[in-house]
Symmetry: C2
């Protein structure tokens, strides 16, 4: 049974019966082994969304989105992405036997695109897409028109564009409630805010859901600042200055709803700088064995921000979402390697000497 | 509850109470979406062991091995590996707070070592280790002596060396029986044979367990050939000529027991060439969305071998183990990319033209 069948009564699936499934969802919720103790938190947990089949939570979106395309006999899957959404859609479209074409932002790092190509998606790098605001909107409009002529829908992982598929992401909330009914706080990273909004929608069906906290890098402060400062709406920024891949989204997209819904749950906004994100990424890898990409450590960094402000009770049950796999962005780890070079030896005696000298 | 607690009554855990757990086990068993239909198999399944926390089934071994080290207050974790075992041990040792030192074979590809370093393990490349047979044995002996003096045990993922930890791998069998009680055949890749032997040990507790089939590349035919040809024992080979990372193990190690136990289950040996493995890797990625490394496609290639020989009934329930993540060996996929270049366009009109010309 897929997660969509398990939680079907919480979703509006328009009679969809057949789900393209490759092992998405049912991800582990693990208790912190070391970081929680170090921070004085007795109930810190991580939701390991990076262990989804294509390496991120976007599989929950892509599974539902492509299942719908398949049910409607769509000719193609059309999408925009420069990372995890594209990889997820490429995987599910391949399984569904639907050609997948993805418009990628001009200058997107090639490494992040490889996985999409390996699944067989055709990539199109569109000049000035993602760089110039009016060009970006024109590309999305053109894609939507093209989709209509191909009996399809453009897939962009945001409620604003693809609300049907985004329901899939709500299943994270249902799973957390099953795994940890006492959950009091959930920390979620946000670019355009789709994931965070999905959590608020997911937990809304429970009488006593957790507070949902929205975490962003300072360099992409479209939602978290306005949420914290009591504003009604998110804010568009001129350009994103964070280097955290996946969270560079200067437009508001789902942001207004995130501000409203997070506030309604009692959640707040956290802002973190990129260096803090890299620090917590390394902490998670070396203390929890959680091999995540930088965006996957943003929730943890945001929890630290809220802790420092005294906003979290240390005995409450806290969940940080880990969104993407460390393998997705190996470059981000290079800085951690320079302090740990390989030793070239001719004999185990040299290792023995090393160990004895250390003690 | 960890998988070791769930299946505790099947394991000999010497009273071990605390398990270092980071989300290992409980991996998805997914039904084939396309390959099964294409091959005329109505019940083909894949066990997605590559979705374990460090990206391979070795996490089941490492969790138990390091939990035991921790319970005995070992000073260090000492191991040999050039790949997935090392990554898994590095992760669990990091979580346990135990320094991890790994002897790696001379000339091992650096890419496969990075993950161990990122978890914080210290790597030692030992001259001629893995190249020269007597040097290799000497290194293992020296490590064992060093381990004794450090209140530790050398961790090598084989029953011959580390039987306690290897019990963890048996949990794959218990999970498969829970997920698919009708399972009739399980295909497993083999280097030294530890995984395959663990499956036979795991399924042994059930009255009607499946046949366990052992699959090897022709270039590392230590077990599969002897099993198929009716020999009593595995065979050492001069040197491994396969390029499939993780399966280059010319020594017998657990091989004799694999021959005996697979035969006892009614299983057979399959032999596959490297090109077939790469072919099935691509098929699994592009038709099943299963993003695996080459070794992770070896079981599927071996199933095809047995099918071609008419040894498998097409209605029986078949499970192929997917052992390691595609991210582990991105080089292996490069050959698939050349046929799928990025298109550089200035306008979605060009994509529209492309789609219309194709139809």
């Amino acid at each position: 049974m897929t997660v969509f069948e398990t939680y079907r009564n919480h979703l509006s699936l328009d009679g969809l019966q057949h789900f393209i499934s490759i092992g998405e969802g049912n991800t582990p919720l693990v208790r912190s082994n070391r970081i929680g103790i170090e921070l004085g938190l007795s109930n810190l947990y991580f939701k390991l969304e990076h262990l989804n089949p294509s390496g991120s939570y976007k599989d929950r979106f892509a599974s539902l989105a492509v299942s719908q395309l398949k049910a409607h006999n769509a000719d193609v899957c059309l999408a925009t992405s420069s990372g995890n959404t594209g990889a997820a859609l490429a995987a599910y479209a391949a399984v569904a036997g639907i050609p997948c074409h993805i418009a990628i932002v001009d200058g997107a790092p090639i490494g992040k695109l490889r996985q999409m190509q390996e699944y067989g998606a055709k990539l199109w790098m569109v000049k000035d897409f993602g760089k110039d605001a009016s060009k970006t909107q024109a590309v999305i409009n053109d894609l939507e028109n093209l989709a209509t002529s191909c009996n399809s829908l453009v897939q962009i992982s945001a409620f604003k564009y693809s609300p049907f598929g985004m329901q899939g992401v709500q299943t994270i909330a249902y799973e957390i409630m099953d795994q940890l009914p006492s959950v009091a706080h959930v920390f979620s990273p946000a670019g355009g805010g789709g994931l965070t909004l999905a959590l608020t929608k997911g937990f809304r069906v429970f009488d006593e859901g957790p507070s949902i906290h929205c975490v962003q890098p300072f360099g992409n402060n479209t939602i978290s600042g306005p949420l914290r400062e009591g504003f009604e709406k998110a804010q568009r920024i001129e350009s994103s200055t964070t280097q955290i891949s996946g969270l560079q989204v200067p437009s508001v997209i789902d942001g207004d709803a995130v501000v409203r819904e997070c506030r309604h749950t009692g959640g707040n906004g956290s802002l973190v700088n990129d260096q803090e994100v890299y620090f917590w990424q390394q902490q998670m890898i070396t203390k929890e064995g959680i091999y995540c990409e930088p965006a996957g450590a943003v929730a943890m960094a945001g929890l630290k921000y809220a802790l420092d402000k005294g906003e979290i009770h240390p005995n409450q049950s806290i969940v940080c979402l880990v969104t993407g796999h460390g393998f997705k962005d190996v470059k981000s780890m290079e800085k951690h390697l320079t302090n740990n070079p390989i030793g070239y030896i001719s004999d185990i005696y040299e290792l023995k000497k090393f160990l004895h000298e250390k003690n």
